[in-house]
């Protein structure tokens, strides 16, 4: 009995930090409609700053100074981000905002590494709270009790702020009806900056509070963001009490789930999220979002390159290895593989109108499916490549069933959670997947052993992917899908089963991603959990963004640009920042992507 009580307290203690970070994210989303990927970075910055303050002033009073200072520094960094970047992209589609905030994640990682170094840091116990108390015969750290108290205290203070101050009234007005708040003469720019600072400060405080419990590392930014996404979605985007409820729910599930299923704790969180979202699609205390912000325009997502252009491209690709050197040949293989991955995402996002933050799941399942078959069943390459898309299709069919019940940001965050599950499974099921060590020595059959042969294999696969996705876009299937995106009620009233249409599109996109993943394994000879991680998903988003979401071929342009950029930047230490900088530039200057530049110019001409 005492043991379970202690476990429940541990869960509550974990909930507090998560709640602070989630509350900040939810608050920012509620007012600005931006899903801030960089929120994890602000959390990380808070933790590092706290370490510095403790180092500077000693444990006492350093620790108690660290909490407010970390919050203030994170708030200041958040304000800086808002003023320099986000302010310029509030009107851009969700995908651009997300990718832009991810670019900030990349830059923040470099800056953090530069300031604080790569070594993990371990904070001291909190002074005055380093002991334990005994409750029901179990030893409970005093600091846990402090954390447990911090949750409700913060919730109460935020409630006071929103219920009793003019600032709070403005925030609530802007959350409920942005246009109305603007019409009433609220200075949006100032309000947005203030809200961003507040949200960022909460993240920084959350980071500082974790210092006595966990190591401070350079990977804590993305580690927490997935969990925080789950919490804000379960609680309801924009709802702070919802975030608290959800933080407790998820933390308790983790605390007890670890007793029952120690290997798959994330799956418990996902299952909880799936159940909540099926019953309450907008989270425990959330409200349905207002209408989509960017209405579709002519040809959106379905612009097509004429067959002649594709034919010409194919000819060039077929002849290219005869004139370029081996290095370029290998680089182009990478482009084709990632191009297939990006095209599958373009299909999902363009004609399908579904933004996925977790498309790597299906690429990775394809890759792991092929590799596992080779490793455990000694299958040959042919079988492995046949199984890759099938495995990915099965995964997409499963996760897609949940995802298509939602739309917009909720759908996107659910896809991210789904990808995190698969990633966690790949990391945690060591005996089967090799864990972090991955699976190595997965080499192609002799026939495709040399680069030239592999090039033509990849080209053949890429042609299949183009033909399938192109046909899918222009067929009745793709039309009905686009109809469902443009006007779901009208589509439904014509007899189109909107969810089913989207589910099938999700599965098709996953299948093509899996095909690319299978090829990827044999190209690299190995697979690691990285292929399932958030950065891999964001890479695909970046490629689609670079090329423009309106046209399938844009994904290929995006993949080419991305691979070349990465290859060039890789020679520099700060390659992540450079990539982030380029992404920010594109998001701010050419929201239509490179392929969109042409149509942007055309559209400006008078009709």
């Amino acid at each position: 009995m005492g043991f379970y009580f202690a476990q429940a307290l541990t869960g509550l203690a974990s909930a507090s930090s998560l709640f602070l970070v989630a509350a900040g994210l939810s608050l920012i989303f509620g007012v600005t409609r931006v899903v801030n990927f960089a929120h994890g970075s602000l959390y990380m910055i808070g933790a590092y700053v706290a370490m510095d303050v403790i180092g500077l002033f000693g444990k006492v009073p350093g620790f108690w100074l660290a909490l407010p200072i970390a919050a203030l520094v994170s708030a200041a960094v958040g304000g800086l981000i808002e003023v320099t970047v986000l302010r310029r992209i509030y009107r851009a589609p969700e995908m651009f905002q997300l990718v832009a905030t991810f670019a900030i994640v990349l830059i923040a990682q470099d800056v953090a590494e530069w300031i604080w170094g790569v070594a993990d840091r371990f904070g001291p116990r909190a002074p005055g709270l380093s002991g334990v108390v005994t409750i029901f015969g179990e030893r409970i750290p005093e600091y846990d009790l402090f954390l447990i108290a911090m949750g409700p205290i913060t919730l109460f203070l935020l409630w006071l702020l929103f219920a009793r101050t003019r600032f709070g009234v403005l925030v609530r007005a802007a959350t409920q009806d942005r246009e109305m708040a603007a019409a009433l003469g609220v200075d949006q720019a100032k309000l947005f900056t203030a809200v961003f600072c507040l949200g960022a400060g909460l993240a920084g405080l959350g980071g500082a509070m974790q210092v006595p419990r966990d190591a401070v590392t350079l990977t804590m930014d993305l580690e927490i963001i997935a969990e925080v996404f789950v919490i804000t979605v379960v609680g309801g985007m924009g709802s702070i009490p919802g975030a608290y409820l959800a933080a407790i729910l998820i933390s308790e599930l983790n605390a007890f789930g670890i007793l029952i299923l120690p290997e798959i704790t994330l799956i418990v969180a996902f299952a909880a999220m799936a159940v909540v979202l099926v019953i309450r699609p907008y989270g425990l205390l959330g409200r349905p979002p207002s209408a989509p912000e960017t209405p579709p325009g002519p040809g959106m997502g379905t612009l097509r390159l004429p067959a002649m252009a594709w034919g010409g491209l194919f000819l060039v690709m077929a002849l290219l290895p005869l004139v370029v050197d081996q290095f370029m040949t290998v680089l182009i293989i990478d482009i084709m593989i990632l191009g297939m991955f990006a095209m599958s995402l373009q299909f999902l996002m363009g004609p399908g109108g579904m933004v996925s933050f977790g498309h790597a799941a299906y690429f990775g399942v394809g890759a792991y499916g092929a590799a596992l078959l080779v490793r455990h069943l000694e299958a040959d390459m042919g079988w492995a490549l046949a199984v890759a898309p099938v495995a990915a299709a099965a995964a997409a069919l499963f996760f897609g069933w949940f995802c298509v019940r939602l739309s917009g940001v909720y759908l996107a965050m659910l896809t991210l959670a789904a990808a995190q599950i698969v990633w966690a499974a790949a990391v945690q099921m060591q005996d089967f997947t090799g864990g972090d060590d991955g699976l190595t020595g997965i080499w192609p059959a002799k026939l495709f052993g040399d680069d030239l042969a592999f090039y033509y294999l990849a080209l053949a696969f890429a042609v299949i992917a183009v033909l399938v996705l192109r046909q899918a876009t222009r067929s009745p299937f793709g039309r009905a899908l686009t109809a469902a995106r443009d006007a779901p009620l009208r589509a439904e009233a014509l007899g189109i089963n909107v969810q089913n249409q989207q589910w099938m599109a999700f599965t098709l996109a996953g299948t093509v991603a899996g095909l690319a993943g299978g090829l990827y394994v044999f190209k690299k000879g190995s697979v690691f959990p990285d292929v399932l991680a958030i950065p891999q998903s964001v890479d695909a988003l970046i490629m689609v963004l670079l090329g423009g979401v309106d046209v399938l071929a844009g994904a290929l342009i995006g993949a080419s640009t991305f691979v070349v950029l990465e290859d060039v930047f890789n020679q520099f230490e700060a390659w992540r920042s450079m990539l982030g900088g380029v992404i920010l530039l594109i998001a701010m200057l050419a929201p239509g992507g490179m392929a969109g530049l042409g149509s942007m110019i055309r559209r400006r001409k008078p009709a």
Binding site: S475, P476, A483, A487, L489, L494, I496
Partner: protein
């Protein structure tokens, strides 16, 4: 006249407020039936109960002898009821012809097919011709004036060859001359195909010029039913519309909604 649609004792409350409270009526084959009433009378709720967007608390809706109460919107469409929207929602990334082709694919249950259906251009031209959009086939939907967006909405609703058409405020948002033209087109389609139409409308000119029969709702209930002339003279209807009881010589109903 045999009934296409038989509505019996339909009711729906929201938080204890009865929006639709025991409504019964029928729509005859080939009949143009107008459902009118002041704002807040429950017309839209009634419509959404019929087309499946809302679930009724009680009562039944029977189409051609088949109970369709509680079916989903897309199932109701497949059973032979088309609908247009008060605020026409169209497929803004398509051309006019593409939008109609998509509607035809949906009507023939082809939406999971990767192959284009056999040439539908004749049927598309026919549908566009019925609403006078034959010359606009290749225009992007985004370029259409709003009246034509509503006509496209109508063409899409007709693509499944329904026996019954629900039109929620068919002329709302249109210019006066354009309204008359649209209602004439609807009447021509009814005359040619024997389609039955149930429509709500604020524009009394459209109602009195194009309805065979009128039913009147107020506070969730039907308060009158009859021919255009009967409704025009009904003191209860006049009271509801003008906010006071009038006696004596019946004047014409207001030309437009008050």
């Amino acid at each position: 006249m045999s009934a296409v649609l038989q509505v019996s004792d339909l009711a729906k409350s929201f938080g204890g407020v009865a929006a639709v409270d025991g409504v019964s009526f029928q729509v005859g084959a080939g009949e143009r039936l107008a459902l009118i009433g002041p704002n807040g009378a429950g017309k839209t709720t009634c419509f959404n109960l019929l087309n499946g967007q809302l679930r009724a608390d009680r009562g039944s809706v029977v189409l051609d002898g088949k109970n369709i109460t509680g079916r989903k919107p897309r199932q109701i469409v497949r059973l032979g009821i088309g609908r247009t929207f008060q605020i026409a929602r169209s497929f803004l990334s398509m051309t006019v012809a593409e939008a109609v082709e998509t509607a035809l694919d949906a009507a023939t249950r082809h939406t999971l097919s990767f192959r284009r259906a056999p040439d539908a251009s004749f049927r598309i031209a026919e549908l566009l011709g019925q609403v006078g959009l034959q010359d606009q086939a290749d225009r992007p939907v985004t370029e259409l004036p709003y009246g034509d967006v509503k006509r496209l909405d109508l063409a899409m609703a007709l693509s499944s060859s329904p026996r019954l058409l629900f039109m929620d405020e068919p002329t709302a948002g249109m210019a006066a001359a354009d309204r008359a033209l649209l209602m004439d087109q609807v009447s021509a389609i009814v005359a040619a195909s024997g389609l039955a139409v149930l429509f709500t409308e604020h524009d009394m000119e459209a109602v009195f010029g194009h309805a065979d029969r009128v039913i009147v709702m107020a506070r969730g209930q039907l308060i009158a039913e009859g021919t255009v002339d009967e409704i025009r003279r009904d003191p209860e209807v006049r009271r509801v519309y003008l906010g006071r009881a009038e006696t004596g010589e019946a004047e014409a109903m207001p030309e437009t909604h008050v």
